[in-house]
């Protein structure tokens, strides 16, 4: 019954938003002031005033496979990342490129935009297929390399296994609760798919709490008592990352039935403060 009610609610909310009648009241949200955004409205390449690229396989910085046995080579070519028709498109391809069998893209705001607390949201239509691993996440500043992961903190707003198109995951990693032991919860659609439509993925992050939302539905709230270690989310600045990995320990490699190319469509990324 609960499920049915929430479904109806989603439908109701969707119709209201789509018709632009009135926005659902963000009940309890303290973060209403838009402080950073990229609407991806101008076709072409990604703005380097807002984003920086990570290039390669991670081996360049001593982290082959980006620490997760990922298989892709990140490039900044338009084949892998571009803005088109009002969306950021990050595209994973099966191709031989600089010694890798797959290419994709990863952008971040490290040193460009970093902040503490707020609402971080992105409207995304996800890709599909075994071994496709897109993510929208935040990483804590490393104080010029003096603090290392997981002590810097990591807030995964949305992670997704392409082979499970109805489920997304929200996780935090910190000292004592990282990797497979991160504090995590999942959100599953009962009658929809994340690769069929756009969904808004968000966290509202404040002192001693991180709340996880899909389309304004709160599905998890993490507080220091949930973390099996030091809470590292009350003073450090965090930056935004968007990427799409191929393969990796989180979900396994692609197989012959994985359709390529696969594209993650991002309508916007917005950050609100108090």
């Amino acid at each position: 019954m609960k499920k049915q009610l929430s479904l109806i609610f989603i439908f109701f909310a969707t119709i209201l938003v789509q018709n632009g009648c009135q926005k659902e009241d963000d009940e309890g949200s303290r973060y209403t002031k838009l402080v950073w955004q990229d609407e991806f409205d101008v076709d072409g390449s990604v703005s380097t005033e807002r984003w920086a690229f990570d290039i390669g396989t991670g081996a360049e910085i001593g982290l082959p496979g980006w620490g997760n046995n990922e298989l892709q080579y990140y490039s900044d070519r338009s084949e892998n990342i571009q803005i088109k028709d009002g969306n950021l498109e990050i595209t994973a391809r099966r191709e031989s490129y600089n010694g890798s069998s797959y290419t994709s893209a990863k952008i971040h705001t490290k040193g460009i935009f970093q902040t503490t607390f707020g609402r971080f949201e992105a409207r995304i239509k996800l890709p599909f297929g075994q071994g496709i691993w897109p993510a929208f996440w935040l990483l804590g500043d490393d104080s010029n390399g003096t603090v290392v992961w997981p002590a810097i903190g990591e807030i995964d707003i949305m992670e997704y296994r392409g082979q499970q198109p109805t489920i997304i995951h929200g996780t935090i990693h910190g000292p004592g609760y990282s990797g497979g032991n991160g504090v995590t919860d999942s959100y599953a659609l009962s009658n929809g798919r994340f690769d069929s439509d756009f969904y808004v993925f968000a966290v509202e992050w404040g002192p001693d709490y991180i709340e996880y939302y899909v389309n304004d539905i709160l599905y998890n709230k993490i507080t220091p008592k949930d973390a099996n270690g030091e809470w590292v989310f009350n003073d450090n600045e965090f930056y935004i990352i968007l990427n799409m990995a191929v393969g990796g320990t989180f979900l396994g490699p692609p197989n012959s039935s994985t359709p390529f190319p696969q594209t993650m469509f991002v309508d916007y990324v917005r950050v609100y403060s108090e």
């Binding site: 209201l16 009648c21 599909f128 198109p165 109805t166 009962s190 009658n191 798919r193 069929s196």
Partner: protein, 473 residues
């Protein structure tokens, strides 16, 4: 029947009410909404036949294979559909198969995206064909699960996605199946909760034609080409990828040259001009993988000689002299396949494939007296590309005065055709060979001709032949 209907209404009225309020709150007018012409009833069989549903077994099947079962049902439903597949040799029918049709005029299924049901069988098996859209009235929007449906001995949910539901505004074919025994043994399977649904779990439409391959085909002008192996693969969350075969009518086809290959309303392709054209397709806005490059083959030029001066062996222009065969399949060395079995709107054509040698024979009272003739005519179309040294020999065999093989008076002669002979062989087009009988060295008698033999080097393997006749100038 009433119970089913009421149950359905109870479940769905609140949701549609909410939907209506939501829309009404936002939009000023709901004008323009017209009543659907045909019922949108999604239920095919729940606790019994839905309104209008009739059962039509295929001919040759066990006619009483289907029954309504009140024992083995899914959940607590009061009835299920039971199908009894006969044993091998069962006199009542060799297999089980039927379609279930809505005989109230059809249903509007355009708001659904799948046919779903629960199924189990008395033994693990694969049901060869199962789907919807088969209605005995053209089967325009037929769909079946590719490769059959594997069934276990416990209830499992099955989802058969609709390739493009917007086409199904008046579909009568609610459900169909066809299957035979497993290793000769019959068995039973049950289906329950058979209905159309709109599932959010279906996505990733990946249509294909020609099995997703880029294929080639040669088609005669005037003939139609049916695009093969048409279907679509969907992903269903929790169930994985599901492929269905689909009628061409679901697809929009595109021809790179409509003056060569024109697309018909039913998705077939008519070859109407010379040249080549590539056919691709789109399903509901998604480009299909696969294509077919069609090379149009014109018919050979029609003979113009006066019938009074002609003895014809194979043509549509003249009365033909009778033959024993157009391919003797001579054992053991002949590989050549094909004979006079191509008919393009009444124009017969011979196609030989895997050609090494092949003989056309007309013995006994069928032998041809060409003693007053001066030439042998044959039209030849070589489909293979020609390489240096490739040849096609045309051999004429005469039996001599005794009119039987052997007896030391058999005479034969051969003309070798190559890329540099007169006439010269070409690839992908007809040539008309008018061969003076004097060129057949050794053919000193020609009053009892009994064979025309074609011999190739094996590299020229695919050859079309038309208009074989003797004539005098």
């Amino acid at each position: 029947m009433k119970t089913v209907y009421l149950k359905f209404m109870k479940r769905f009225i609140p949701a549609s009410l909410v939907l209506f309020i939501a829309i009404a709150a936002c939009e000023r007018s709901v004008d323009g909404l017209s009543e659907p012409t045909f019922t949108e009833n999604p239920i095919v069989f729940a606790d019994g036949f839905s309104s209008g549903l009739e059962y039509y077994p295929f001919s040759g099947t066990k006619l009483n294979a289907f029954s309504v079962d009140n024992q083995s049902t899914y959940g607590n439903s009061s009835a299920s559909m039971r199908f009894d597949v006969p044993n091998y040799g069962d006199p009542s029918g060799a297999f089980a198969g039927a379609f279930f049709r809505d005989d109230n005029g059809g249903r509007n299924l355009s708001s659904y995206n799948a046919l779903t049901f629960y199924i189990k069988a008395s033994t693990a098996s694969t049901i060869s064909e199962i789907g919807f859209g088969l209605n005995g009235e053209g089967d325009k929007y037929r769909v079946g699960i590719s490769g059959g449906l594997r069934v276990a001995t416990f209830w499992q949910k099955v989802v058969i996605p609709i390739p493009d539901a917007s086409k199904l505004t008046q579909e009568k074919g609610m459900f169909w199946y066809s299957t035979g025994p497993v290793d000769g043994n019959g068995y039973s399977f049950w289906i329950d909760e058979l209905k159309f649904e709109n599932l959010g779990s279906i996505g990733q439409s990946r249509p294909y034609i020609e099995g997703g391959n880029d294929s080639n085909s040669s088609v005669f002008e005037g003939q139609d080409y049916s695009v093969n192996n048409v279907g679509v693969t969907f992903n269903v969350a929790d169930l994985g990828d599901i492929s269905v075969s689909a009628s061409s009518s679901y697809f929009n086809f595109i021809s790179t040259d409509p003056t060569v290959a024109a697309i018909n309303a039913d998705g077939s392709v008519s070859i109407i001009g010379g040249g080549t054209a590539t056919i691709t397709a789109v399903l509901n806005g998604v480009a299909a993988t696969g294509s077919v490059a069609i090379t149009s083959i014109a018919l050979a030029p029609e003979p113009t000689r006066d019938a009074a001066n002609v003895i014809s062996v194979f043509s549509d222009k003249y009365v033909n002299s009778p033959v024993d065969y157009f391919n003797g399949y001579w054992a053991p060395y002949q590989t050549t396949k094909g004979q006079d079995d191509i008919d393009v709107n009444g124009n017969k054509v011979i196609k030989y494939s895997e050609l090494n040698f092949v003989g056309i024979e007309f013995q006994g009272d069928k032998t041809i007296d060409a003693s007053t003739m001066t030439h042998f005519h044959v039209d030849i179309y070589v489909e293979d590309s020609l390489k240096a040294g490739d040849y096609l020999d045309v051999k004429l065999q005469d039996l001599g005065v005794d009119n039987i093989f052997g007896g030391n008076n058999d005479r034969a002669g051969t003309v070798r055709l190559t890329a540099s002979s007169s006439p010269s062989l070409i690839n992908g087009g007809w040539i008309s060979a008018d061969l003076a009988l004097t060129r057949f060295a050794g053919l000193s008698t020609k009053s009892n001709l009994a064979q025309i033999v074609f011999i190739s080097d094996g590299k020229i393997a695919n050859v079309l032949i038309d208009n074989m006749y003797f004539y005098k100038e």
